[in-house]
Amino acid sequence: MTDATFIPADRPFVRAAMLAPEPPPAAVAGFSGWARANLFSGPFNTLLTLVCAAGAAYVAWVLVDFMALRAVWTGANREACVAPGTGACWPFITARFGQLLYGFYPADQHWRPAAVFFVAVALIAPLLIPSAPHKKLNALLFFVAFPIFAFVMLRGGLFGLRPVETRAWGGLLVTLVVATTGIVASLPLGVLLALGRRSKLPLIRFLSIAFIEFWRGVPLITVLFFATYMLPLFLPSGWTIDGLLRALVGVALFSAAYMAEVVRGGLQAIPKGQYEGAQALGLRYWPMMLLIVLPQALKLVIPGIVNTFIGLFKDTTLVAIVSIFDFLGIIRAGFADPNWATPVTVYTGFAFAGVVYFIFCYGMSRYSRFVEERLDTGHKR
């Protein structure tokens, strides 16, 4: 370091040379600097750090101990897992794996949902990776062609595919079908409802408010019960609507109402100047909304949107109460199997369910962070 410039208090001062920027002092850089500043600054914080670390280590130990160290990995039936002190009984999961994925979908037809699953991954992955090319074609394939493909493949009845009733669908297949349709349908619906709620036209505003408040006002369980057991009473005799479809529509509309309020929060945060800037350039309502207002509003509420998605993903478990066996439902159905009745079966099942749901939900959460950082365009004021 050069010697410090002496600035006299009693005489005029003119700087002789401008200073060049220097790297930060060692203490604040690197991991040790970070740890000292954030974890061990003072006795209280040090104590807090140690207590939390001990707590985290204990929980991690319990999980690893149950799920790995004491776990049983192979076996043909309950005999493998009845010894006292056994941990997770993984053969219970592996033996029923096909059912966990596909429910009661006929075993010789499992290739169909498997194909749908692989096509879905092949279409979603490049859609989520910003640098992947042909986004428009990709989106068109996923949002238009894929649903038709998936429907025909899963449902069958066309092209010589054996029809499989939706009642036979189950497991992760149903969870993903309900969650994906819910997610894909609720965002655009929610956006429309949010715009409607802020519309200048009283009728549109009234209808949007009524819709949002109705769906937010009733529990999802009520919606599902109503759709399953009461709707048929109102329909003309001979009319039936597929049970899974009813649940799908219920879940989608329900989340759309929540989504609408999240999006409205974002719309309210957009300054009036953005509207005026767009109008002064001659943009009409829809281009202004689609190109200027919504991109900014949605970006602001990504955490809220993903929050709703995650809530929706977990709420899909509620379809179990209208006799649809989603992923959690099919695991629980397995508990009743006398072949696998052991003291640890229930814990194993729920541990596995927890891990799978966590992977999906945490994945969404991480991806939303990634998107937020990517869309950040410089300094906020």
């Binding site: 002064a280 900014q296 410089g378």
Partner: protein, 264 residues
């Protein structure tokens, strides 16, 4: 573009050729209310093509409201506004038509922060004028060169200084090839060292014969560029004159008071 400052005399000479007798904007007996509050009272103003008008007046006197009525960012309740021969009504088609002819720059720039500088400039040509993307980009680069920031085209507004942002806003408006430009205090949100670069850009525009209505308190700019200066107070046009006479010899008491306050 102009090498910054242009001689006021040059402008005055050029004006005799340039200002036609054709009307660009005509405001006839226009009044506006916010609820019970009468913001604008019987505004009458005719702006000829190529004319440059500076509007000043105390805060809250209705300057912004008046020029925002011209491109229908605000509605008015009484009177008429005719822009380039089209009368403003509730007809959306006419509003679109007029907004295509009238560009506007705001105090706070109102750039779109999620779009790059280039995208800010090409947006309206592409979506309103239906111009092919390539042509729109060429046009945008042309105007970004004119405001002297072509090298910032790939950046986002948040990465630019205030003065640069306001120049982008001017370029963005120019990309729509407007016949009339409205400015609402374009320099009053800027740090002092950036005021000049924006004013220079506006002088360059004036020099090219653009019809301009500028709300500003930059009296140097008014002297140099304006054909007429308008003083507004309490929602009315209180005094209007050519700049030399306006500053040297204000007539109305309120004008005198206002000028004494801002000219120190």
């Amino acid at each position: 573009m102009a090498e910054s400052v242009v001689d006021a005399e040059d402008l005055a000479k050029a004006d005799q050729v340039r200002i036609s007798n054709e009307t660009a904007v005509e405001i006839i007996g226009m009044s506006k209310w916010y609820g019970e509050f009468n913001v604008l009272k019987d505004i009458n103003l005719r702006v000829r093509r190529g004319e440059r008008i500076v509007i000043c007046g105390p805060s809250g006197s209705g300057k912004s409201t008046m020029i925002r009525c011209i491109n229908r960012l605000e509605e008015f309740q009484k009177g008429q506004i005719i822009v380039e021969g089209t009368e403003l009504t509730n007809d959306l088609k006419k509003i679109d038509e007029i907004r295509r002819d009238v560009g506007m720059c705001f105090q706070h720039f109102n750039l779109f922060p999620h779009l790059t500088i280039l995208e800010n400039c090409t947006l309206a040509p592409i979506w309103v004028r239906k111009m092919p993307k390539k042509d729109a980009e060429e046009l945008a680069m042309h105007y970004l060169k004119r405001v002297r920031i072509p090298d910032q085209a790939k950046k986002y507004p948040g990465q630019l200084s205030g003065g640069q942002q306001q120049r982008v806003a001017i370029a963005r408006a120019l990309c729509m090839k407007p016949k009339i430009m409205l400015f609402d205090e374009p320099t009053s949100a800027l740090d002092p060292e950036m005021v000049k670069e924006v004013l220079d850009t506006m002088v360059g525009l004036a020099n090219d014969g653009m019809t301009m209505l500028c709300v500003t308190h930059e009296m140097g700019f008014a002297r140099q560029v304006a054909n007429r200066v308008i003083f507004m107070d309490a929602g009315q046009i209180v005094e209007m004159n050519e700049p030399n006479a306006f500053f040297a010899n204000p007539q109305h008491e309120r004008t005198k008071l206002f000028l004494s306050q801002i000219l120190h």
